[in-house]
Amino acid sequence: MSRTPTTPATTAASAVSAATPPTAADERDLVARLQKGEAAAYEQVVRDNGPRMLAVARRILTDESDAQDAVQEAFLSAFRSIAKFEGGSLVSTWLHRITVNACLMRLRKKRRLDEVSLDGMLPGFSPEGYVTKPTDTWVDRPSSMEQAELRATVRAAIDKLPEHYRIVLILRDIEAMDTAQTASLLETTEAAVKIRLHRARQALRELLDPSLRDHPDSSAVPSVRVPSPKNQSAASVATKNSGA
């Protein structure tokens, strides 16, 4: 998708908007102007919502070019269907959903949402169902300088999750979508969303554990545990058996 600049830059690059929420009257006015095809209204919507939409796209699609293309597609898709917008939600909420959809379409095209097993990223248990390895507490929250490093570690760990699980974690825990919305966007059931979210959190915990343990020297736990088939949790076995 082309991103050739066509008009002079009118403002500096904008950051995520922290503007106060629009009133109902503002929203009605904005939608009416969009439906009339007012260029200034389109520009206002792009400037007000673009940064947030791009942040969402960057979280879901790790590739910058893909993220920008998805945002452009989302705006075009939204403006094409603005005549049908009935004001059931805020424009920003509507755009958020369209952006997530555009991102998921891209992932589907790339077949990055194919099922991948989480084996090796879930906790291991003895055949009797008890913990086999010591569970250590985690260090207290680090200083602000270390905080940046920690956040980078967490983001890198999230990116290591299989796509199938990473997306659910992002939509539910980070984008704060509810289970029903997530299930609808992912074309699956609410039960499946809940299971994937729990497993994604468990896997992320396993990935972070070596970096955050209070007593790293005593850790006998590798960065990713690979339990023997006997010691896999019931959930892990169910995942494997179901092909998830």
């Binding site: 705006f75 169902g129 967490v154 199938h164």
Partner: protein, 110 residues
């Protein structure tokens, strides 16, 4: 999740395990781990939740697991929020221009 890909199918497993828990069978760490999210979300019945509470009170590894599980969720939220990543929401001016240009072009074609 994606079109054509199978969903995980633990409902049967879940039903079996819940039935087992309700029947009074001993709760193990694996049960606790598998049903942790439902427990934290208050989705287990009172009787089962009480048995989870009892297990938690006498199982330090599971207690630590719950704490680190919760910390994982908090860390994921904090690490990905725009406040922690000011760069995440920076929108290049050329992208704004490209979107507005594409919109204008579409309007002209209508």
């Amino acid at each position: 999740m994606s079109r054509g890909s199978p969903d995980p199918q633990p409902p049967q497993l879940t039903a079996d395990m819940l039935a087992r828990l309700k029947s009074g069978d001993k709760l193990c760490c694996r049960d606790f781990s598998d049903f942790l999210m439902a427990y934290l979300d208050g989705e287990l019945g009172c009787d089962v939740a009480c048995r989870f509470d009892q297990h938690l009170a006498k199982c330090p590894p599971c207690k630590t697991y719950v704490e680190t599980y919760r910390a994982t969720v908090d860390l994921a939220k904090e690490s990905c929020c725009p406040k922690a990543n000011p760069q995440l929401g920076k929108m290049p001016q050329e992208l704004v221009n490209a979107i507005l240009h594409a919109v204008t072009s579409e309007k002209k074609c209508e």
